[in-house]
Subunit: 383 residues, 2 copies
């Protein structure tokens, strides 16, 4: 990176850190200006002539903007954080094409994966066992075929999506509504570390130290969809941020995929409504794969002549090495709804005692085939 | 009914009871002949000239066909069964328009309801609790609005649909694959009685005494869809007779509705696949109601000025639940001229960011309060 580019990068940073400057206004200013680096040398009148609000023009003209940018850059370096501006080749190309791309993208992890084709997986923070299972399963199957999984690392569907991608040894990008140094929700600290460890990335358009603020999360959603080739909606209620993401995806011309669900499940409202409006009904990874633009598919299969094999079936009969009792318990459980322990004992009465059922459940949980939910409810894991 | 019509009716009956004569061949014969009643007076050579198979021509020419028809008519009268032929005004008009309408329709109950608009509700014989519940609920809600519910009275979804219609005090038609005097499955004897008691009907194209035969059930399905305005598929596995019904519906130009379900439920395969192929995703009765041809809707609401109200719309128009941001955006828009997005962002600058404005516009569009015009121009809807 030469000094000139570096000045331009600092100029973008200085501009976005100025009061009242958002992404759209920053882009317009830089477009009018032509040469980003020159911003920092302009006198006040010319800055005002560019259309900057008075406070921002003042902030840039008297050098406070540059000082703030240099300070932010130094803090970033210390924290192992990098930042991308539109001057950088690594700035995500798809994001560049949306109506309101971020002016600066703070980043932890590998910038290269931001330009790989990905699917955004989004949904409610309070999914059912079905929704959670589907998010994890589809993310895993898509990641196994080389697609990057993009999401917001919120509780629920987002978390399941990132985990699914990691389970497949795939790459995943978390787009945060806080600074990339502010973990939220806290319980995802380990997940964030694992994302980075496995070659993924965490990005945000908010400066370091930005704490969670409700208005930042919907804004962040346009980045998730904007970076993606398509957006997969798993479960979402009638009033949810996922609707914002879906709307962004529509505006950005991204394909929308949705997992249908029982209409009696209030979180199926979102995907079912999207399907009614034209989103592609998605039951397996193939529904998305078959729909990918041919250049994207070519990119994914290049150098991988062995084809995306090893299909993870929706209903794996991965029962090899399993005892008879585990098999019985497993077949008495469902993937899309939890079975309460008492019910399970009732169901298996005659063939197994409660203690044997306990033991089998324990083995199955260890093997990752069964998950226990609060209240001694058990659900079969899809992956 | 005058003697002449009666002769024509008997001629249709005689023809369909002749060996090797099916619905399509019977219709073609009668079309060539022009005057149905004259069939019974034709000499053998002319019958053969009409294209009848030799055995059938012989059967008609030597009077056995007429004897069989008179015998069937007498038995029907004794059993309280009537029959409809294409000579009868009560013959269902919609059925007349399909490729292969029945030549004779045996009937118990009220023939008048066969010409009322109805929705066919079909699905698997082994539904989940969800499928069964949805079939019953939707049949009930549709029947309550005056739609006749048509189904096959098989176990599972069919039974639930008939029961739902009855629960609403509505009318329902059961199309059987056996003679209308042969109850199948046996456990539905009471249901059949109740259907008739409540002013419904049981119909079949098979003569009295026809016992269940596997090949008759798929054939029967074309009558269910053929009589309907649209076909609602609730749950159906990958290999099920419901696919036959759906295909018939498609060929007959009937609208197809399908209730989505969790993809982990194998019986959701049918409706989910139909939705993917263009069937209308159906969560409530309104999804069907809103889609009905306007003449059908007019027929249903005639004499019912109170309109079918009462259920929550998917996109309620109450501004009470509207957020502050939606309110702000709405007040920045006009009813008589469009506002361009950039202008809107400028207008709301300081109080809202672009992404928040997007989100609010999205909500307002869904609520039917804002319409988007080409070029990102927005106008307030006069509601």
């Amino acid at each position: 990176m030469n000094a000139c580019t570096n000045d331009a990068r600092l100029a973008w940073m200085a501009l976005i850190l100025s009061p009242g400057m958002g992404a759209i206004r920053s882009w317009r200013t830089m477009q009018r200006l032509g040469d980003a680096a020159s911003l920092l040398t302009l006198p006040l009148t010319e800055l005002e002539g560019l259309g900057l609000p008075a406070a921002a023009a003042q902030f840039v003209a008297d050098g406070r903007a540059l000082a703030a940018a240099e300070d932010e850059a130094r803090k970033a370096e210390e924290a192992g954080v990098s930042f991308l501006t539109p001057e950088d080749a690594a700035y995500p190309e798809r994001l560049r094409q949306i109506y309101d791309p971020p002016a600066v993208l703070w980043l932890r992890g590998d910038p290269a994966i931001l330009n790989l084709p990905g699917i955004a997986v989004v949904g409610t923070r309070h999914p059912s066992a079905y929704g959670q299972g589907m998010a994890e399963l589809l993310a895993r199957d898509l990641a196994a075929r080389g697609l990057v999984i993009q999401s917001g690392m919120a509780r629920g569907i987002d978390t399941a999506a990132h985990k699914g991608a990691l389970a497949a040894g795939g790459k995943t990008v978390a787009v945060w509504g806080t600074g990339v140094d502010v973990i939220y929700p806290k319980e995802n600290k380990k997940l964030a570390e694992e994302i980075l460890l496995k070659g993924g990335a965490i990005v945000s358009e908010f400066p370091l130290g930005t704490f969670p603020a409700p208005q930042n999360f919907p804004v962040r959603n346009r980045i998730i969809s904007g970076m993606s080739v398509g957006v997969l909606v798993v479960e979402a209620g009638e009033y949810s941020g996922t609707r914002v993401t879906a709307r962004c995806a529509l505006e950005q011309g991204r394909d929308i995929y949705a997992v249908p669900g029982n209409v009696t499940n209030k979180n199926a409202w979102g995907p079912n409504t999207l399907i009614r409006q034209g989103a592609r009904l998605t039951a397996t990874w193939e529904d998305i794969w078959e729909d990918l633009p041919s250049d994207v598919r070519a990119q994914l299969t290049a150098g991988d002549e062995s084809s995306p094999g090893g299909t993870a079936s929706l209903f794996p009969e991965n029962t090899a090495g399993m005892g008879e009792q585990e098999r019985q318990v497993l077949s008495a459980l469902a993937m899309d709804s939890a079975v309460q322990l008492d019910e399970l004992i009732e169901k298996l009465e005659g063939s197994m005692g409660a203690a044997e059922i306990f033991a089998a459940l324990f083995e199955l949980e260890l093997a990752g085939q069964v998950r226990q939910l609060p209240g001694k409810n058990y659900v079969r894991v899809m992956v």
